[in-house]
């Protein structure tokens, strides 16, 4: 099987066979994940949402060796599972019914706590016409919903969770995975684009209902080449608010990004320098919006250079 083949090339039966024996190995940006799980919901989710992800060769180095499985026969009977990274279980057991959401959260966690060769911001990242836009945001600010809408209107999604910035650059590294949506946002995006493809809905999580949107719709979604960042945008959804797009000072943008970084502190002074270089190279804006179509149109104009013209 060539390294250029995708998960879709396996077919359902071979995908399940890989998940049960030795792991399904696929590429996410520069990283290789290997996932092992006997659970049908995990197989369904991966088959649907990772169809376009490149398979990794059997002999490739695996960055994150993940398993979702019961710890033993009693846990299997109780329908409880653990998330394992390299045979360690860093989290409490969860219900098997929550397995797919747990997989996605666990994959996020792997990238959040390891791999400090990049300055990592907690942000969605999208791109259009060769220019990336980083969207840091507090939980509930609407960045994932906006990211999903942009994905469905032709933007490339580099990530809905991590902006990976090589130090000394204003670039981001693509690590495309499905966009996580919660509660009412699921119906908002289904209505925004009825043809949108969602994975299994996980109910009764600590965040409510969670579902994941297939987001690798744009050509080149799995090209690992870093993309130059032109804009850092701080979105804020406000019901009924008129659209407003205003410039934000670099210092305020710096501090927000630093406080919402996975590893600014870990990197020490090198993190400060990396953040300074990055913020110097991007234009920073606040976006207040209530209508997704209006927001998408405004951002199309912004990235094409029309802001302030």
């Amino acid at each position: 099987m060539s390294a250029a083949a995708t998960v879709a090339a396996l077919g359902a039966a071979d995908l399940r066979r890989c998940l049960n024996r030795g792991g399904l190995r696929f590429q996410v940006g520069p990283y290789v994940y290997a996932v092992t799980s006997p659970l049908p919901v995990v197989a369904r989710g991966l088959e649907l949402l990772y169809a376009g992800h490149p398979l990794a060769p059997a002999e490739s180095f695996v960055d994150f060796n993940i398993a979702l499985r019961p710890a033993g026969p009693w846990q299997r009977l109780a329908r409880r599972i653990n998330f394992y990274l390299d045979d360690d279980a860093p989290f409490e057991r969860i219900a098997a019914s929550d397995a797919y959401a747990f997989l996605e959260w666990g994959m996020n966690w792997c990238l959040s706590v390891a791999m400090h060769e990049y300055l990592k911001l907690h942000a969605a990242v999208v791109a259009r016409d060769g220019v990336a836009m980083v969207l840091p945001g507090l939980p509930g600010a609407g960045k994932s919903t906006l990211c999903a809408a942009l994905a469905l209107r032709g933007w490339q999604v580099l990530s809905d969770e991590h902006a990976l910035i090589p130090p000394g650059t204003c670039q981001v590294v693509p690590v495309n995975r499905p966009v996580s949506l919660k509660n009412a946002s699921i119906e908002v995006i289904r209505a925004f684009e009825p043809a949108s493809v969602f994975g299994p809905v996980t109910r009764d999580t600590h965040k409510g209902r969670v579902a994941h949107l297939k987001s690798d719709l744009a050509p080149g979604s799995h090209d690992p080449t870093p993309i130059r960042v032109g804009v850092m945008l701080f979105p804020g959804y406000e019901p009924g608010a008129a659209l407003s797009l205003t410039e934000r000072s670099r210092a305020e943008s710096f501090i927000f990004a630093a406080h919402h970084s996975f590893n600014f502190s870990v990197l020490g002074e090198a993190g400060f320098e990396a953040m300074a270089h990055y913020v110097d190279g991007v234009d920073c804006f606040d976006l207040r919006y209530s209508d997704l179509d209006e927001a998408v149109a405004a951002l199309d104009t912004l990235v094409s250079g029309g802001f302030g013209a």
Partner: protein, 91 residues
């Protein structure tokens, strides 16, 4: 009146917009400060003995802002805020 010094080495991200990012190298704490606080910390960083007494600080900061006189109580309030943020110490 007290004599003050920096709690540790600091770096600034200042692009002339008003707010300034102050990074405390030893602790990694990162703060958003106003231009006056940035000038105060910069004065302490440049001080010949690495310390400055309050009258000296007052004179330095007032000289940098003609027409915007800073009172001693305002200076002491600012120093108190910066001390609470572990950026300055009484020497």
């Amino acid at each position: 009146m007290s004599v003050w010094r920096l709690a540790g080495p600091v770096r600034f991200y200042d692009r002339g917009e008003g707010p300034v990012v102050c990074y405390a190298i030893d602790s990694g704490d990162t703060h958003l400060i106003n231009p006056l606080a940035s000038r105060l910390l910069g004065a302490l960083a440049s001080a010949a003995e690495a310390t400055m007494a309050e009258p000296q600080l007052l004179a330095t900061l007032s000289a940098g802002s003609p027409g915007e006189a800073l009172s001693l109580s305002e200076l002491q309030s600012l120093l108190s805020d910066l001390a609470a943020a572990d950026l300055v110490l009484v020497a």
